[in-house]
């Protein structure tokens, strides 16, 4: 079954939300990480409701509603989300409150909004959507799981339209803790710039004039021990979809400036003339960064000449993911 992307929407460290034409610029680093450029939410969300929403919820709801609106879908057959760390701002807020007040007199708002499924639940609530509603949280492959579930749901004949998204917010505290963990593991600076973002897509199984790209396949692999295994896994993935290495004309690589044999191996598989974009240069490193890559890939297919786009990401070799997009 063919799955089409009918609309995209992203809030990211580059000015992706209001951008008519793609203009990629290196984001400004604040406090050592890439913060999202946030739009004026009041234009999209009722200001009374905005007041209680955390950043993740605001970003998620805004991009989710825009993607639905741009695809002219009032009520999708499913809302499927991926988030690696969840609503970390409210999680930290409630934790801090708990510690400061010694487990007494706590305000429940942060707790209520700290659950991983808050964003998907809020979108359903705002548009009155009683349909299928899933939230995945598998570290760096949370968004890939959401994409896979969307694809399978459509294959199973349970949905014609799906709103799918990836979202992670970050905080100074989380950045500091993650950097500390990375340093302790490798005795050096993490080497990457942390980031955040929210990217949503309207998917449909119907061919039409509003299709802007095609989602061909998504795959997550574990248990890959060598770069040879990785090459084989990539080849299998492409062959399964009727392609060879040479057919890919754009690689969106999750390389985050750390020396990685995995990213080099994928670069080497695809021929050198092919364009490679290290997408984390624009969104920073975060668990669902591949959803930003899918936003970028879709945009490059729709507005520019990209034909067959491969998105590759790895969690330092522990797991590997491929997403394949093509022109319609």
């Amino acid at each position: 079954m063919d799955i089409f992307i009918n609309s995209i929407s992203a809030i990211s460290p580059v000015d992706s939300f209001n951008q008519e034409n793609l203009l990629l610029q290196t984001p400004e680093m604040v406090d050592g990480w890439y913060k999202c450029i946030e739009p004026d939410y009041r234009e999209i969300i009722d200001p009374r409701k905005l007041r209680r929403m955390s950043k993740a919820v605001k970003m998620g709801v805004t991009t989710g509603l825009k993607a639905l609106n741009d695809a002219d879908i009032a009520n999708p057959d499913a809302i499927i989300m991926g988030t690696g760390i969840g609503c970390i701002l409210d999680t930290e807020k409630f934790l801090q409150q708990l510690i400061d007040n010694d487990e007494s007199l706590l305000n429940p708002t942060a707790f209520i909004q700290s659950t991983h499924n808050t964003v998907a639940g809020q979108i359903a609530l705002l548009i009155g959507c009683n349909s299928y509603n899933f939230t995945f949280t598998q570290k760096t492959h949370s968004f890939e799981s959401a994409l896979l579930e969307s694809k399978m749901l459509m294959n199973d004949g349970e949905a014609n339209t799906v709103l799918v998204g990836g979202i992670d917010e970050t905080t100074n505290n989380t950045v500091a803790l993650m950097q500390r963990a990375a340093c302790a593991q490798s005795d050096k600076d993490a080497g990457y710039v942390p980031g955040e973002g929210s990217s949503f897509f309207s998917l449909s199984n119907e061919k039409g004039t509003n299709n802007i790209a095609k989602l061909i396949d998504v795959s997550v692999k574990y248990g890959i021990d060598t770069t040879k295994d990785l090459e084989r896994a990539l080849q299998e993935f492409l062959v399964k979809n009727g392609l060879e290495f040479n057919d890919i004309d754009l690689l969106l690589s999750g390389n985050n400036n750390s020396e990685s044999k995995w990213y080099n191996a994928v670069n080497d598989c695809l021929s050198l003339e092919k364009l490679v974009i290290s997408y984390k240069d624009y969104c920073g490193e975060y668990d669902t960064a591949s959803s930003f890559a899918m936003w970028l890939g879709t945009k490059l297919i729709h507005e520019q000449d990209a034909q067959k786009v491969l998105i590759y990401n790895t969690d330092e070799g522990y797991s590997h993911s491929f997403i394949l997009l093509t022109k319609c």
């Binding site: 809302i79 690696g84 760390i85 969840g86 999680t91 930290e92 409630f94 934790l95 801090q96 708990l98 510690i99 010694d102 487990e103 706590l106 305000n107 429940p108 707790f111 209520i112 700290s114 659950t115 991983h116 499924n117 808050t118 998907a120 639940g121 809020q122 359903a124 609530l125 548009i127 959507c129 009683n130 349909s131 299928y132 509603n133 899933f134 939230t135 995945f136 949280t137 598998q138 570290k139 492959h141 949370s142 799981s145 896979l148 579930e149 399978m152 749901l153 294959n155 199973d156 803790l177 993650m178 500390r180 963990a181 302790a184 997550v220 692999k221 574990y222 248990g223 668990d287 522990y318």
Partner: protein, 399 residues
Amino acid sequence: MTDKIYISGIGIISAIGDNIDESLHSFANYKTGIGSTKYLETIHKNKFVTGEVKHSNTELFEMLAIPEKMQKKYTRTSLIGTIAANQAVKSAGLAQGDIKDAALVSATTVGGMDKTEKVFSNKEQASIDFILTHRCGDSTDRMADYIGLSGYRSTLSTACSSGTNAIIHGVRLIRNGLADIVIAGGADSLSKFTLNGFNSLMIFDNDFCKPFDKNRKGLNLGEGAGFVVLESEQSIKKRNKTPLCLVSGYANANDAYHQTASSPEGVGATLSMQNALKKALLKPDEIDYINVHGTGTENNDLSEGVAIKNIFKDNIPPFSSIKSFTGHTLGAAAGIEAVFSVLSVKNGIIYPNINFKDPIDELDMVPETKYTSDNKLKHVLSNSFGFGGNNSTIIFSAV
């Protein structure tokens, strides 16, 4: 549903036992696992009863024979999840090769929160290892590594409905030819975070919870893990295995009413039961037993009861909640209840809804309060509902 998806193994640990036999013994003897809080460090120890797994982390490490140098990678959620997933794998009689290529789908709401709390309260001195165990998916990775699984894995976090959604994702992986065997379920440990969170919502019964009782006051928190092994027909045949039961229907719907409360009309719950029945090609009167979500909160039990009436009208099958035994185990609840529902189908067990006295006025529904086995239960329906309006239903059927 045309493709047959079987369940070939089950594993469990909760407040009422470390395995299937201990759990069934507790049910048969009306022995709740809820009691005073021993292991969770909290100032509310003497205020609330909880359903703790009756072991310290040290004992859990011993049960799994995890060497000391590896222990820093495990949180309590990972530990109890690994125990249940490992049991499920053994119960299905999976060979090392089967496990390697299998997929694992887990569910959790707190992930490594028990350790995050320690890092957070002592930011400078705390061990950094636990920074890396915070994310929910980390517990799933630990389970996979321990049981020797190197296939696809994922984690669902849709509050208290997570476990059913994990099983649904697992079923789809098989239906879509991406796996032959999937280990699916959920694991959640108690944490100060959830205890204080639910307390701030004033949703606890300080005494033992009373699901579906007129005078119910709230829930008791619990912890535990429950996993099932899902298997394709082809794999069952190849392994020459007698399955425990079938997954015949499932559905997920959103209540779209309130972030934490269920709608008075039970919109989402009605939809999820209705769609699961449709998927199973069953009529309501074919359901022999319902394992209700039944948390014991004012809101859930009323809303769920209304939804059950919407579907079953005047012909409500026997039903009961096991939460007065295990406590509400959040992300693990549906995994645990899937295991007990499978045993209902397999051994005809109906679990007692203890602490029930009088029916809720608006509903006049009386749950089963006696433990009975050898009932003829061909189709068992299990509900799980959560924050964010997430409602899920799954139906298990005799082979």
